[in-house]
Amino acid sequence: MANKSTALATFTCGLILAALCGTAGAQSARDHIYIVGSSTVYPFSTVVAERFGRGSDFKTPKVESTGTGGGLKLFCDGVGVDYPDIANASRAIKASELASCAANGVDDVIEVKIGYDGIVLANSQRAPSMALSRLEIFLALAKQIPGEGVHELVDNPHRLWSDINPALPATRIEVLGPPPTSGTRDAFVELAMEGGCSAIAWIKELKNTDEARYRSICHSIREDGAYVEAGENDNLIVQKLDANLSAMGIFGFSFLDQNAELVRGAAVDGIVPSFDAIADGSYPVARPLYFYVKKTHVDVIPGLRGFLREFSSERAWGDDGYLSERGLIPMPAEERALVAATVRDLVPMDVASN
């Protein structure tokens, strides 16, 4: 028995050592592309990755959904096979992030804009359709809004939509949306809330005089139950809207696109969210999507150049491309050509200008 156990222990240790050695060998030459970043870009990035993997001799790239900020942090940690080749982002990279990239030796980042995504405020198809302005969205969801006095702020008193504007239905304000960690929430706050907030003259003034206060007024969402944090799972929000006719939800356009028979997007500033309205820029709550790639990794990581070519091809991001079927709003043709040329010639971002 004792001998058997010793043998077993030796075998186990050997197995683990062998596994570790095998791993070290595999890691020194990574044979797959490694992508991290935004959960909004994830559905598009994965489709391209899969098509690229199936249609070529290379392995299918690995795509991790870490969020934009987390992804760029991993991306900027260094150069080499241990670090991601590509970071997806639902906003442009910040100057501070570029600086931390450069500090870690990542100084040849290529920025690739891939298209646009709209954020919609939607309710059930069985409920009456809504039309809101960005100011009304701000008045419905902000934590504090301007009161009677001069430059006075009061806690948001609005209970019903009709409290804001008598033309709106007399239903309770109940909006299901993503939590603060989400990129969709960031973009919604920046585009819809801030857009409405800066329609108030004295708050707009604040932007030049007291920017911190301006941000805290425009970016704070109420916490008294009218805005319900429904988690990052947009499918869940869609299901809840279908069950609760008086509620509205905030999510990405691709979910509206896939669930058009269940939910309907509210018109914002008179524009109904649609493919065309986002593409031509008239729908106000839309944002560009990007990915960032390290130039030094191209031709070192097998297939990276091919993956870039696949992503920037017309059959992927073109007007009739397979990404548009997934809800990505394409850029205009000239802009696509311009970005595709950047990708082809591997033109890195100018760090000094940022």
Binding site: M1, A2, S5, L8, A9, T12, L15, I16, A19, L20, G22, T23, A26, Q27, H32, Y34, S39, Y42, P43, S45, T46, V47, A49, E50, G53, R54, G55, S56, D57, K59, T60, K62, V63, E64, S65, D82, Q125, E232, N233, D234, N235, S254, F255, D257, Q258, N259, A260, E261, R326, G327
Partner: protein
Amino acid sequence: MLWGCAWCASIESSMSEVTRGKVSAGLARRRRKERLFRLCGMLATTVGIVFLVVFFADLIGKGSSAFRQTFLRLEISFDTAVIAPQGSIDLQYADFDLLARNALRDLFPDVSGRNPLRELNRLLSVGAGYQLRDMLQQDPGLLGSVQSVWLPASSSVDMLRKGNIDASIDAALRPISDAQLAWVAALQRDGRLELRWNRAFFSNGDSREPELAGIRGALMGSFYMLLVTLALALPIGVAAAIYLEEFAPRNRWSDLIEVNINNLAAVPSIVFGLLGLAVFINWATLPRSAPLVGGLVLALLTLPVIIIASRAAIKSVPPSIRDAALGLGASRMQVVFHHVMPLSLPGMLTGAIIGMSRALGESAPLLMIGMVAFIVDVPGGFSDPATALPVQIYLWADSPERAFAERTSAAIMVLLGFLMLMNLAAVVLRKRMEQKW
């Protein structure tokens, strides 16, 4: 004395009368309480069972349809002019999609124009071409022949066939057009459209096309991970338990260790993930997303469970057995390996299996070490990028495509099946190997 006794007896009889009266008065109340308590217990059990039944009914109702998948039967002509224009075939670049599209177009010859043709092609899955490529790769003799092949339909056709798309609503709102509805009806009339066993669900890795997505990659990832976990946690856990129970001196230090082990068993799993990220990935530079690292993290997670269960099993071995062996001149190690270990093995294995089933269901620590990722290729080893079953469920639940909803439920069914098997194995082991003293 005599009268006293009579008085005493009368008192006694009257006392017992009083007591009996009190008791019988209270009896009804006690019985009522007893009944109420039993009722509460029964109610609690019923509520639990009802929740379980609702959960399973919902899961099976939603998920069972994923095990069947809509296929289209097409007469595919492996036309040399299409796939081997230069005479020899290049499997990588030959246009196998065109073969399927041509066959579909032959069925509806009056469809013309770019957009109607595109709509017609969308009845077929993107995977149709890959399936034809694989067929030809396996049997090159098919080149030039005509075969009747069942090809996967697109997920919107599948959803329509399974009744998840309401065909009566406005065409603009549903993901399938009027023309496509008519084609699907015609195909069904001809017996060319059928629900068949969904083999891809068990043989494929992840995919963004619901009809091609499978759980094989996640299953293999979970398998490799649990192998590492078992290989590490079982020997270390058992060795630690034996040392602590049989050899370690009882003092302040061993008390401290005991408290710490019990504490570790209650630490939230995400903490182990953070530890794994810091130690295994950042310090030891093991690869992200690898089952090896996942297994290491899960081993840390299951170690306390195994140690606690093993110690309990060792404690339950009667000291008389140890004394007898020692009395016959066995060494301490011989006592442990010849007597204590064989007797406590069922308990140890039960602990290990319960620890493993906990590890199988974990997803939070895997988030930190990069196993929540889109990985198509089925992992073939300990260092290949991989996901795990619970992670796959999470990823699918978050996908916008409707057809992923049923796959999410189906994957949960598979996970529950494995958990049930493991827990059943623990029960059977205990029943069969249990010793009675």
